[in-house]
């Protein structure tokens, strides 16, 4: 390099060719990286999306059509270009006489799932918010000890507690009732903890101004604190909805009456009973997951937020 500067400001042909080659290499490397990126991208997308495409596509086919398209595998195996039928959905939702009689009707289970999720989200908004308000903004002697009592429950593993929980709920006379699906979950230590952090972050001057105006604790919560933590409330509501909608083990043991089965328990039973009816099982899978997936696609940011919230713990 120093030689160039010393001898002349002009580049020799040799050097110009060298520069051109480096530039070509750089362009090639860029193209190579681009191809590599697209390849990895396609691989990840294939692994995570194709199973869902397959289920969605084949839920619109008869079982025979599903099986005859398995081999050789091609786009046709995934997407039904012909012979589309809604029969699987009609039967899974109990919309025709045959399926109603044969007990394949998922509409009641859907209703139970929606109802229990909505009730838990509602109760959780009331009681978790109240508790978070207490921990985040109110004065109380030895408040930290009570917070430890709450946070310590997070150490109890879920699956371990469900078996004895069955007996507690049974003593309360709630086993095999709708209440068994909602009452144990009306408050959550994790959500109390997350909302407490949200509320602690709000400035206290707001409260003080309201107290001078003669507002009581309820009015402060309702008019000042809650409007300021709406994103947090939406995030925890999503978390609760997702938890109850997808919960399986607890309703499996808590209710044995088929009329009270939420959707996840109902579809598990269908699979074992109707192994051969693949089209209908695929339709049931779509029905059981579509509400939560639609919710996710429309409110992605809040789902990621809820993960970040749990990451705080670590």
């Amino acid at each position: 390099m120093s030689e160039i500067n010393n001898t002349s400001t002009q580049f020799s042909d040799e050097q110009l060719r060298e520069f051109a080659r480096t530039k070509r290499l750089a362009v090639l490397a860029k193209i190579g990286r681009g191809i590599f990126y697209v390849f990895i991208y396609a691989l990840i997308a294939f692994v995570f999306v194709m199973p869902m495409v397959y289920v969605l596509g084949n839920s619109l086919r008869t079982s025979q059509a599903i099986w005859s398209n398995v081999f050789p595998a091609s786009w046709k195996s995934f997407i039904p270009f012909e012979g589309i039928t809604l029969k699987n959905y009609i039967q899974a939702l109990g919309l025709d006489a045959v399926s109603k009689g044969a007990g394949m009707d998922l509409s009641n289970a859907l209703w139970i799932s929606f109802a229990s999720s909505a009730v838990v989200v509602g109760l959780s908004l009331i009681f978790n918010t109240g508790a978070a308000y207490f921990f985040g903004r109110l004065k109380f002697p030895k408040k930290n000890l009570i917070l430890i009592y709450v946070v310590a429950t997070m150490m109890i593993p879920q699956q371990v507690v469900l078996v004895p929980l069955y007996f507690v709920v049974k003593q309360l006379g709630m086993i095999n009732t709708f209440w068994a699906l909602v009452v144990p979950w009306y408050a959550s230590p994790f959500i109390v903890f997350a909302l407490t952090q949200f509320m602690t972050d709000l400035p206290y001057e707001l409260d003080e101004a309201a107290i001078i105006d003669g507002a009581n604790l309820f009015q402060i919560l309702w008019k000042i604190v809650l409007p300021n933590c709406l994103p947090g409330l939406l995030t925890v509501s999503i978390l609760e909805f997702q938890f109850i909608w997808n919960e399986f083990y607890w309703p499996l043991i808590a209710v044995s009456n088929q009329d009270l089965y939420p959707i996840q328990v109902a579809i598990a039973g269908q699979f074992t009973q109707e192994g051969p009816q693949w089209g209908r099982v695929f339709a049931a899978m779509v029905i059981a997951s579509l509400p939560i997936i639609i919710l996710f696609i429309s409110l992605q940011r809040y789902f990621y937020e809820s993960v970040a919230m749990s990451g705080i713990k670590g």
Binding site: I66, I146, V161, P164, N246, V265, F271, V281, A288, G314
Partner: protein
């Protein structure tokens, strides 16, 4: 004495400060009742039941002392085998989750078109219920009619037995669980990667570090906290795996996937051995405690 307490009582209520405390406590009371009744009390109940011969119909029938615990460790090879299966499941599940989530997070954290969509693709299995994921994969991996074997055969590869084979069932279950759960860890790690200051990378580039060296000495140490969370979270999940085993293999073939929570479920609700199942739950609780304390120690000391 009585007069003092009486007057003390009336004045306690009259004091504005104490009345405020009472109102404040009413906000937290319902939640405290919930945690006491539905979280602490079941643990105490399980602890008590583990020392009894408890049956679904007759309740606390006979006190048996430590018999249930002795039986678990000396007279129940199936339980010990289920512990071993669970440990194997956990080691592979956690290991694969950490490595894969790290790779996917680095990929999804690039400033390139389409990364938002790929993050969403990876996260969809997380929001989908485990029972749906299990049944769907059970059908896709069906040895005769599943599309995965259709693809393998089309590519000229051998068909596999997957869940129906004694040796392939557990690895298949691990793969399904990783597919379902990895997105959660990816989001945690992406959040961590976003927090790594750009300056650190620039400084490393000035020092002549290549991208691999930068990953090891800049990126990894900066997201240590998130990595530790992923390890602990994945371990807790691994030891409590239940749904895919319940819906796909029922512990088989020949008990190769008989994980501990599924075994407890069967003891409790199929065989009605509640006392014994409670003892097993308590053992699992202590194992989980031990494992997480061990992990905290190891990961903190680095």
């Amino acid at each position: 004495m009585t007069t003092i307490t009486n007057s003390g009582k009336t004045s306690w209520f009259k004091k504005q400060k104490n009345r405020n405390y009472l109102v404040a406590f009413l906000f937290v009371l319902p939640a405290l009742i919930n945690f006491t009744v539905f979280r602490y009390y079941p643990m105490i109940w399980a602890f008590r039941a583990s020392f009894w011969d408890y049956s679904l119909l007759q309740g606390f029938k006979k006190m048996v002392g430590f018999d249930n615990y002795v039986r678990a460790f000396t007279a129940d090879p199936i339980f010990l085998q289920s512990l071993k299966t669970t440990f194997i499941y956990a080691i592979f599940y956690v290991g694969i989750i950490v490595v894969l989530a790290l790779a996917l997070a680095v990929f999804a954290n690039q400033k390139k078109p389409g990364v938002g969509a790929i993050r969403a693709f990876i996260f969809i299995p997380v929001v989908t219920s485990f029972i749906v994921v299990s049944i769907v994969w059970g059908m896709l991996l069906n040895p005769d009619l599943g599309i995965v074997n259709g693809l393998l055969q089309t590519l000229g590869l051998n068909r596999l037995m997957f869940l129906t084979s004694k040796t392939q069932a557990l690895p298949t279950l691990i793969a399904i669980s990783v597919w379902k759960d990895v997105g959660y860890s990816v989001i945690i790690l992406v959040a961590g990667l976003k927090g790594v200051p750009e300056m650190l990378h620039e400084a490393a580039i000035v020092d002549g570090a290549n991208s691999w060296q930068r990953f090891w000495s800049v990126t990894l140490p900066s997201i240590k906290r998130q990595l530790m969370f992923v390890v602990v979270w994945a371990t807790m999940g691994a030891f409590q795996v239940f749904i895919p085993v319940y819906s796909l293999t029922q512990g088989g073939p020949s008990r190769s996937t008989n994980v501990v929570v599924y075994y407890i479920y069967k003891e409790a609700f199929i065989f009605g051995e509640m006392g014994y199942a409670s003892a097993l739950s308590i053992i699992l609780l202590f194992i989980l405690l031990g494992v997480s304390i061990f992990q905290m120690r190891i990961l903190r000391s680095d």
